[in-house]
């Protein structure tokens, strides 16, 4: 498949991973087999990392508290930024982990059952790591948008009926 068609395919999947190969094939003008091959190839190369549902847990019975943690770290002889980020990423509670430019070094989002659980995670797991110089924890109050999707009720279709 052409490079630009693969990109189109990936954009469609990034929006809606439930589209069938046949639907994608139709939309980008390829055959179903070509799409299946391209997807398999992207999976193999690690371009497609997974397919997951985006769930608004607030609407379920499961209680979850989210937080954003900013870490300042000082790399040492044993651990550079790469190793530190990798180590932190291993914790199950960590949902995203980014190396940042600017006022701090590493940004995490994590979630736990309670505020306390998150506080303990920071105190017991993150703070003791030798390169971690300081942590700053910000609790998430409300999610409006997640991975490009509105988490609050989106505007209804405002387009009114006209004569055309």
């Amino acid at each position: 498949m052409k490079e630009q068609d693969i990109e189109k395919m990936l954009r469609l999947l990034a929006d809606n991973a439930k589209l069938s190969n046949a639907q994608i094939a139709t939309m980008i003008g390829a055959s179903e087999q070509e799409v299946a091959d391209a997807i398999a190839d992207c999976e193999k190369k690690g371009i497609i990392k997974g397919y997951r549902a985006l769930i608004d847990w607030d609407k379920t019975g499961r209680d979850l508290v989210g937080a954003r943690i900013e870490l300042k770290v000082i790399p040492n002889g044993v651990m550079g930024f790469e190793e530190i980020a990798y180590t932190i990423s291993q914790f199950r509670e960590v949902e995203t982990c980014y190396l940042m430019s600017g006022g701090y070094d590493i940004a995490l989002t994590i979630s736990g059952k309670t505020f306390k659980e998150i506080a303990l995670f920071v105190a017991h797991r993150l703070a003791p790591l030798e390169p971690v110089q300081s942590t700053s924890t910000h609790f998430i109050l409300r999610k409006y948008k997640e991975r490009g999707i509105m988490m609050v009720e989106d505007n209804e279709d405002e387009r009114e009926v006209t004569s055309l």
Binding site: N16, L19, Q23, T26, M27, G29, V161, T162, L164
Partner: protein, 392 residues
């Protein structure tokens, strides 16, 4: 009490109301309706255009503009028409700004048509040509395009419809509702019939930027010898997702534009000033936005065409605009019955084809200016509806 039937203009009263409105008034009363009826982009106006509108307000540009519109905007339109469609118009004399393409259509017909004149209206098409022609006392003469001709106007059809009274041909391509377009060679054939006549042409090119495939839209005015008889109508609504800004324009021979501007002066004064400032930004910097939206429409178009053909509702592959026009003949229902039943059974709203002229009977118009998820759900419901019909 006032007897309004004696007061009102008979010409106004006798005009049939738009078939689209009536249907959607019913749909709007129902819950959980999925509409495929809207004839405008689902995209918001690109941010930089909105920003330009806001800035013009912040700077206090809140007065009327010249009747014909801001000269800066007319100049940009002239540049745009040259850049995209190889057309050459003098921004001072041959271009002016209207309140949407609709106003330009209205003014063009009123500037040209006299009582008794025949106006050739290619159908199925946008709903306004016929009533405006009637208001001028002109006689609309429908020319029905056919699915087997890819909903194009053919030279033979045109030739057969011309009489000594023919004054104006309305050429609505890319077409709402069929999605049909005219490639250069088809326009050449039409031009060949018109050469040597005095027939004028209103070329409604509002969907010019929404043509799919490798070849771009060709303006009828760019065909050799046609510029002198053609009024090109275009606007910002479809290309830049600016429907609510109400901004369009006409470009054509100076003597015609002059009369149109005169009518515009008396009826409208000038198009909205804020919209005009925003449109300057659109023309200067937003070609990439057009491409982005067209790519998106193109994917949806393929999805919807394939969907209808799979269901067994034969669907001509449209090459323009954002509509498909599948046939419902095999259901044995009229367009109106089909749409009502589909609405009742599956809560999906599409527009009966006969709203766009008698020749649209046997078809429905489906707009794909909706998200992929919305379209997938709607197609699923339509498929279920067709299966239920087949099993009964």
């Amino acid at each position: 009490m006032m007897d309004y039937s004696k007061v009102l203009s008979q010409r106004a009263v006798q005009l049939k109301p738009s078939g689209i409105r009536r249907f959607f008034d019913i749909a709007s009363e129902m819950k959980d309706v999925i509409s495929l009826g809207v004839g405008e982009p689902d995209f918001k106006t690109p941010w930089s255009i909105r920003r330009a509108g806001i800035e013009s307000l912040e700077k206090g540009h809140t007065w009327y503009t010249a009747n014909a519109g801001l000269i800066a905007l007319r100049t940009e339109i002239s540049n745009y028409l040259s850049r995209r469609f190889s057309l050459d118009y003098d921004p001072k004399q041959e271009v002016f700004i209207t309140v949407g393409g609709s106003e330009a259509i209205d003014l063009c017909i009123r500037a040209i048509v006299e009582p008794g004149d025949e106006v050739l209206v290619v159908e199925p098409s946008f709903v306004c040509y016929d009533p405006i022609t009637r208001l001028t006392g002109g006689i609309p003469v429908p020319i029905a395009t056919k699915a087997e001709d890819s909903f194009r106007l053919t030279a033979q059809q045109l030739q057969a419809a011309i009489t000594p009274k023919t004054k104006l041909l309305i050429l609505p391509f890319p077409n709402n509702p069929t999605g049909g377009i005219m490639r250069r060679r088809h326009l050449e054939e039409i031009a060949e019939v018109l050469r040597g006549t005095d027939i004028m042409v209103l070329s409604d090119e509002i969907y010019a930027e929404l043509t799919y495939g490798d070849e771009r839209h060709v303006s009828f005015a760019s065909i050799e010898g046609m510029k002198e008889r053609t009024i090109v109508v275009n606007g910002f609504s479809k290309a830049y997702a600016m429907t609510g800004w109400r901004l369009g324009y006409a470009a054509g021979p100076e003597p015609v534009i002059k009369q149109m501007v005169k009518l515009h002066q008396f009826a409208i004064m000038c198009a909205p000033t804020t919209s005009q400032y925003a449109a300057i930004e659109a023309l200067r910097h937003c070609d990439p936005d057009i491409e982005r939206m067209r790519d998106e429409y193109d994917m949806r178009r393929r999805l919807v065409v394939e969907g209808f053909n799979r269901i067994g509702m034969t669907c001509f592959e449209p090459e323009g605009a954002f509509y498909v026009f599948p046939s419902i003949r095999k259901t044995g229902m009229t367009s109106n019955e089909f749409c009502m039943k589909l609405l009742e059974a599956e809560h999906v709203a599409v527009v009966p084809g006969d709203a766009f002229g008698q020749s649209g009977e046997g078809f429905v118009r489906v707009s794909y200016s909706y998200s992929v998820n919305h379209l997938v759900e709607a197609l699923k419901r339509i498929e279920r509806f067709i299966h239920t019909l087949e099993n009964n």
